[in-house]
């Protein structure tokens, strides 16, 4: 996972990768939250381009960050989910919490 903060746009870009299961999500959330509290971004962009697997733990990861961002007035954007990840995101109704960009092919 890589993090980039754009101070002009107040955007925190999180390039997620690999398998987002319960084991990995628990490790990633601390790292993401440290950057969120440090920068207080207006937009948190979660990029799923390099994510090869996601179960409901990944949904928990998005919902948890939403709960932190919302009181700060920040928003979440999800970009580049594969068709498969897009299916899990829709099943979980994530479009109600976050703007989801075009799906890339699986």
């Amino acid at each position: 996972m890589k993090l980039h903060y754009d101070a002009d746009k107040r955007e925190l870009l999180v390039l997620l990768d690999g398998e987002l299961d319960h084991h990995r999500s628990a490790l990633l959330r601390n790292e993401i939250d440290t950057a969120v509290y440090m920068h207080m971004p207006a937009v948190l962009i979660l990029d799923f381009h390099d994510v090869t697997f996601m179960d409901s733990s990944g949904i928990g990861l998005i919902m948890g960050r939403y709960k932190i961002l919302q009181p700060m007035g920040g928003e979440i954007q999800i970009q580049n989910p594969s068709a498969y990840i897009g299916r899990v995101l829709r099943l979980a109704g994530m479009e109600r919490l976050a703007k989801i960009s075009e799906e890339v092919s699986a």
């Binding site: 299961d21 319960h22 959330r29 409901s56 099943l91 479009e95 699986a106």
Partner: protein, 149 residues
Amino acid sequence: MKIQNEFRCVFPAVSANEALARAALSAFLIPSDPTAQELADLRTVISEAVTNAIVHGYRNSSGDVAICLRMLPDRVLYIRVSDKGCGIPDIEQAMTPLYTSAPEEERAGLGFAIMQEFTDSLHVRSSAGNGTVLTMRRKLGQIHAEPES
């Protein structure tokens, strides 16, 4: 129940073994020539079931998780995931979408919803203090409906 092939394993309830369970499912399923979507769906299903056993069955304390995979006639995959953990006191409540008994773990409460969506049948046998057995079936080679958005 005529079995064409079977794989069983038992492993300790630690989160690193969620990936192991997915790898076992993939290795078992690939000779049956699943579609990419079937493989992705079923990897998600076993991941949810094993995570439930670790997070909810054992509440992150020690214990064993057992999985049994069977390929039945007509390309029906049978999955059983069992634990000897605390059990589910109220199965109906546990299966309600967005309900979770572990919000501090950032569980979305969608594990059962995903398992139901990605299988043809799901059966839960559990009682408080006696562990949980999940059995699921999914027939390969069928068009599986896109979930309603």
